[in-house]
Symmetry: C2
Subunit: 120 residues, 2 copies
């Protein structure tokens, strides 16, 4: 009744389990946001940027040197992080300084690192 479209190519085998999960299932939108959040930190370059900014406020050139990448590349990633509200920036003279702007991200980041170190 509520699921009249069959994109799946097989039968439900355990109806109870399926219904139980469907009832608790958050919206498609929630999962999109959630995936976007993890996707944001699911990139080596952005991870390294976030780690760096967690140590110190930095301008684009400094970051480029730390990461050994071009200004352009770093700037593109910073723009992505900024659009997501994870970092913020301020201009001072010719430089633009970036800082972290999201506590949750750092927390996720730390738990992730912990996980890596425990599991090798």
């Amino acid at each position: 009744m509520s699921r009249n479209e069959f994109s799946c190519d097989c039968n439900i085998i355990h109806k109870e389990a399926v219904d139980k999960v469907l009832n608790k299932m958050p919206s498609e939108n929630t999962f999109n946001h959630l995936a976007d959040l993890f996707k944001l930190i699911g990139d080596t370059t952005r991870c390294r940027i976030l780690f760096s900014l967690d140590q110190d406020e930095m301008c684009v050139c400094d970051l480029a040197n730390v990461l050994n990448m071009t200004k352009s590349s770093v700037s593109h990633q910073l723009a992505t992080l900024r659009r997501s509200g994870v970092v913020k920036c301020r201009r001072s003279g010719k430089e633009v300084y970036y800082t972290l702007d999201d506590d949750h991200i750092v927390k996720l980041f730390e738990i992730g690192l912990e996980h890596i170190n425990h599991k090798g």
Copy 2:
């Protein structure tokens, strides 16, 4: 001295800050692992699979129905999750049942959800 290759196209502006960060910087390898971890849950389909398995052990057909996707697509993603040690499976008759096999993942997952709900 330690950094003789210049892939970056600009000067270091704040040497102290750069050195400080470089000294604390984990290895390239660590960041790759970390990014891979987040990449794994940085996908809507895999998020929904993980959420479902957190509710109940499920076989592929059940998951396909919950997610409204083909068996094949679900199976591919399950293989990815299995390769990463996040889920495990057991066969019983014709069905293969999947369960979560990683506490940390669920924790990250929950913190992520919390973050989403707080920020809208």
